[in-house]
């Protein structure tokens, strides 16, 4: 486990919590309450699992109860046949994992609400099968006399013994979930929740990452089901309903989606509450519904956010007394020293070795339509390797669309884009990122809930995307995996150092100033080791001082052998750093050349300022639309 976690566990409050958990059975009055506590531990495992797909990835999953039921029934049937719990449990986990693949593969590539509907339908099917397939499941009366758990020759008996056994499993589930959160896969999950497209262009295969999360969720639920039947010796279908699935979901959201502590708090509250409010009888469910609405509206980040609010207030009160740490927006933002650019030149670290540098782009007759609107009309251009190439034009001329086609956010209807001989059109953005093309966004898309360092680490992992094997290595905590994590951190720190944000590495990315977020996007893109870097209006919102530093950065990036293509309105920046300038108007390339050539070009002047009156406009639509572009220079 990470060092941060160890430090957390050594705090007195944590030790007190640990002690409380260990002596809990002595304090709980009666068998019924103890059974409730055990059920809470089992629910906790389901909810911690749900946190992967809902908390980290932001997807809705209402199949947790069904997966819990599948795990329970598979275990019950196997152990009734005489198989030991210790063999039935992994088989139950595999069974739920396979079900999650069947359900996830078709739905996870669709719009987000499809998973919600598909999982609800799956829950209904599972419920129907459990009730009606009587010869196997025992129908509504369920299965009885399910064998228990034998541990080192001792068969567990009584709620108290089961409590410690279940506690160990819950702790294991929590520990592994924290380990995943701190890994490359955890960062990818949160990145795609914060911005799916920004995750893709950093090389995150968002569909596969969601699939990993969904499978993890269902396997947690399957294991919980296995534990449930083996400790209660009885199973019936009514528990595995969609209402239960909603309850698991509510536990997570009320506690705090995306937080392990939130999962614990939410599960505890909603395990105890129905019992404590038993006197409300049929009004309980009304109150439950109203409570959900109130909690979601007034505390959307869950009960854990109360604690953060409280400590945040306390912290800001103490901070007021001492001087604020110097976070000067202007001064340390860009310090492009030659030494820092060394990391960009470390070719050996790149997938293609030396040949990785000096790649250009060859764009042939790219056409992109949106309904009837032709945003790019047979655009062809060449970007020479190792140059800075500016794309300019009035608003709506297709510049950003062009970058979106290059990076794979849009798939052009026709044409070809080649990066050092590799065709890019038709590939997913993550594949294009691995081919060596990275970008920043005009409307900033940093991963707000990750730290600055974690943002850049997502980019750094571009060429080593974690799949199933990576997941197993992370769960096992292998030395190789830890070494890789360390390497990602170093690459990310170097990239941050290069753009001058190293001092802010631990800050939440959402807390940075606007210009700093732009630089963070550049660092994140550089960490992918691009051959071609696309910058979409990098100077927007920067003051003259900051844009001057940005110019120095762009030159340093080019000098390191990375080809830069950028869209910009700031004339000083365009003229100051570009080797070549291409001008777009109404989706067409109207001029190209050195900055000086373009500045003197009549078509360009006409596009920006309108045509002189005496000359009749060739194209009335063109003349009407070409209002002067207000420049930010």
């Amino acid at each position: 486990m990470s060092r941060g976690l160890m430090q957390k566990f050594s705090r007195p409050s944590w030790l007190a919590g640990l002690a409380a958990v260990l002596v809990l059975p002595a304090l709980v009055p009666g068998q019924y309450a103890m059974q409730l506590v055990n059920l809470g531990l089992i629910s906790l495992i389901v909810v911690v699992g749900l946190n992967f797909i809902t908390g980290y990835c932001g997807q809705i999953n209402f199949a947790q109860a069904a997966f819990w039921g599948i795990g329970a029934y598979v275990t019950a049937l196997l152990t009734l046949k005489g198989l030991s719990f210790w063999f039935a449990l992994p088989l139950a986990a595999v069974a739920t994992g396979v079900c999650s693949l069947l359900l996830g593969v078709p739905t996870l590539r669709l719009r987000a609400f499809y998973l919600a509907m598909a999982t609800i339908a799956f829950g209904e099917i599972v419920q129907l099968v459990l009730v009606h397939w009587e010869s196997v499941t025992g129908g509504t009366s369920g299965l009885r006399n399910i064998p228990g758990i034998t541990l080192f020759g001792h068969t567990l008996t009584g709620h108290r013994e089961h409590y410690y056994f279940l506690l160990a499993w819950a702790a294991l589930g929590l520990g592994l979930s924290l380990r995943i959160r701190a890994s490359q896969i955890g960062r990818a999950m949160i990145a795609l929740r914060d911005s799916e497209i920004a995750a893709e262009v950093m090389g995150v295969d968002t569909v596969r990452t969601k699939m990993l999360a969904f499978t993890l969720s269902s396997v947690y639920a399957g294991v919980a089901g296995s534990l449930y039947v083996s400790s209660l010796h009885y199973v019936s279908p009514d528990l595995f309903s969609n209402a239960q699935a909603v309850l698991f979901f509510v536990m997570l959201v009320i506690g705090g989606a995306g937080s392990a502590i939130g999962a614990v708090v939410g599960t505890a509250v909603l395990t105890v509450l129905p019992e404590a409010l038993r006197f409300l009888k049929e009004w309980y469910l009304v109150l439950y519904g109203v409570g959900i609405i109130l909690m979601v509206c007034f505390l959307p980040e869950g009960l854990v956010s109360l604690r953060q609010r409280w400590t945040g207030r306390r912290r800001s009160a103490t901070r007021a007394a001492e001087p604020a740490p110097p976070v000067d927006v202007a001064a340390p933002v860009v310090t492009a020293q030659p030494a820092d650019a060394r990391f960009l030149k470390a070719r050996s670290a790149m997938p293609g070795g030396e040949a990785w540098a000096d790649a250009g782009l060859n764009v042939q007759a790219v056409t992109q339509r949106f309904g009837g609107l032709v945003a790019l009309d047979a655009v062809s251009l060449r970007v020479a390797p190792g140059t800075v190439h500016a794309v300019i034009g009035p608003n709506g001329s297709g510049k950003t669309t062009f970058l979106n086609v290059l990076s794979g956010a849009y798939v052009a209807q026709s044409g070809s884009v080649q990066l050092a001989g590799t065709e890019l059109i038709g590939r997913r953005p993550s594949a294009i990122a691995r081919a060596g093309l990275s970008r920043t966004f005009q409307n900033i898309r940093v991963y707000k809930s990750l730290s600055v360092l974690e943002n850049v680490m997502v980019g750094a992992a571009c060429h080593q995307p974690a799949g199933w094997r990576g997941l197993l290595a992370i769960l096992a905590g292998t030395a190789a995996q830890r070494g890789q994590e360390q390497a990602l951190r170093e690459t990310a720190l170097q990239a941050l150092h290069f753009v001058g944000l190293a001092a802010l590495a631990q800050r939440p990315a959402g807390s940075l100033a606007y210009a700093q977020q732009r630089l963070l996007e550049i660092a994140r893109a550089l960490a992918t080791r691009p051959r071609v870097l696309l910058l979409d209006e990098p100077a927007a919102g920067m003051n003259p001082q900051e844009s001057t530093r940005l110019m120095e950065l762009i030159v340093a990036i080019r000098d390191a052998g990375i080809t830069v293509v950028f869209v910009e309105h700031n004339v000083r920046l365009v003229m100051g750093v570009s080797d070549t300038v291409t001008v777009f108007d109404f989706g067409k390339k109207i001029a190209e050349g050195t900055p000086q050539q373009v500045q003197a070009d009549e078509a360009v002047i006409a596009a920006y300022l309108g045509r002189p009156r005496q000359r009749p406009a060739a194209d009335p639509a063109n003349a009407a639309g070409s209002t002067p572009e207000p420049d930010h220079a």
């Binding site: 509907m117 209904e124 099917i125 129907l128 009606h132 893709e200 969609n242 109203v290 959900i292 609405i293």
Partner: protein, 288 residues
């Protein structure tokens, strides 16, 4: 056989109506309302209150029900959607579920768990066509579905308000900037969605009784129909509704009624696998 088909189509028309209400809301705010079935159930019980308990004339009872449903839609929007716009979408979906839970349990407390009967405006009159016996209420369902579909289409495509709803669904901020009152637009969409659910409730209860628990299964059918029709497509939803009603009734008649609902869900999962864009939807590209 033909008799079975007509029953199936009647059920299908109901599915189509629920889906129309669901899509009315979805097309405005891009949120799938998980309480659509419970809104329908509420409409059915408002019918029980006004027609059976208050013995109002049927036209007045229908009017009162629609007015009440519009009010419910407005409150629904103000409580469960409006505070959450711009927040992670699962929060709004969770609140729609919570509204469903509240409605279902309130009705359960007020009316008790026993199903209640609701008369049709046509009583139990029937039309005889050769050997076929068609209840007039079934013909009423077909007519009402057709009229409501046409009305909804005309409203969305040919009124200023419909344009504002569509603009809001595409880009809420931009719509606001060009002078669309987003709050009013969204409120009207929720009110219409709830009224459509109410209409479906009034139509379905004479066939199957009004049952507090009827909402969840009918609400799920609305999803299924919407997906098969191509999410957001009104005609697609109506055709898919008729199709689902037909397939379900046939399968229940000839195969097994235990798995009647399972057939609908399997059809749904099958579509997700093979043709996620549905019968008439645009191709669902991977959202990047």
């Amino acid at each position: 056989m033909l008799q079975l088909a007509i029953n199936g189509l009647a059920m299908g028309a109901i599915y189509a109506l629920i889906a129309l209400g669901l899509l009315q809301i979805f097309n405005a705010v891009r949120i799938v309302n998980f309480a659509q079935g419970q809104l329908l159930m509420l409409g059915a019980f408002l019918g029980v209150t006004t027609i059976v308990q208050a013995s109002l004339p049927i036209w007045l009872a229908y009017l009162v029900t629609f007015a009440a449903m519009a009010l419910v839609g407005l409150i629904f929007m103000l409580v469960a959607y409006y505070p959450l716009r711009g927040k992670p979408f699962y929060l709004a979906i969770l609140t729609t579920i919570a509204v469903g839970i509240v409605l279902e349990n309130l009705v359960l407390i007020v009316f008790g768990p026993l199903p209640q009967s609701l008369p049709s405006p046509f009583g139990s009159a029937q039309v005889h066509l050769g050997e076929l016996v068609i209840p007039q209420h079934v013909l009423f369902i077909f007519a009402a579905t057709a009229v409501l579909l046409l009305a909804q289409w005309a409203f969305m495509k040919h009124t200023r308000f419909g344009t504002m709803v569509r603009a809001t669904s595409m880009d809420m901020d931009m719509a606001r900037m060009v002078g669309v009152s987003v709050r009013t637009t969204v409120a009207v969409a929720f009110m219409l969605g709830a009224m459509l659910a109410g209409a479906a409730g009034l139509l379905v209860a004479p066939l199957f009784l009004a049952d507090p628990a009827m909402g969840s299964s009918l609400g799920l059918k609305a999803f299924i129909v919407s997906v098969i029709g191509g999410f957001g497509n009104l005609y697609g939803a109506v055709l898919a509704g008729l199709l689902l009603g037909l397939v379900e009734t046939m399968a229940a008649g000839y195969l097994s009624s235990d798995y009647r609902d399972a057939i609908a869900f399997l059809l749904f999962l099958g579509f997700l696998f093979v043709r996620p864009q549905g019968l008439f939807g645009e191709k669902q590209s991977e959202r990047v």
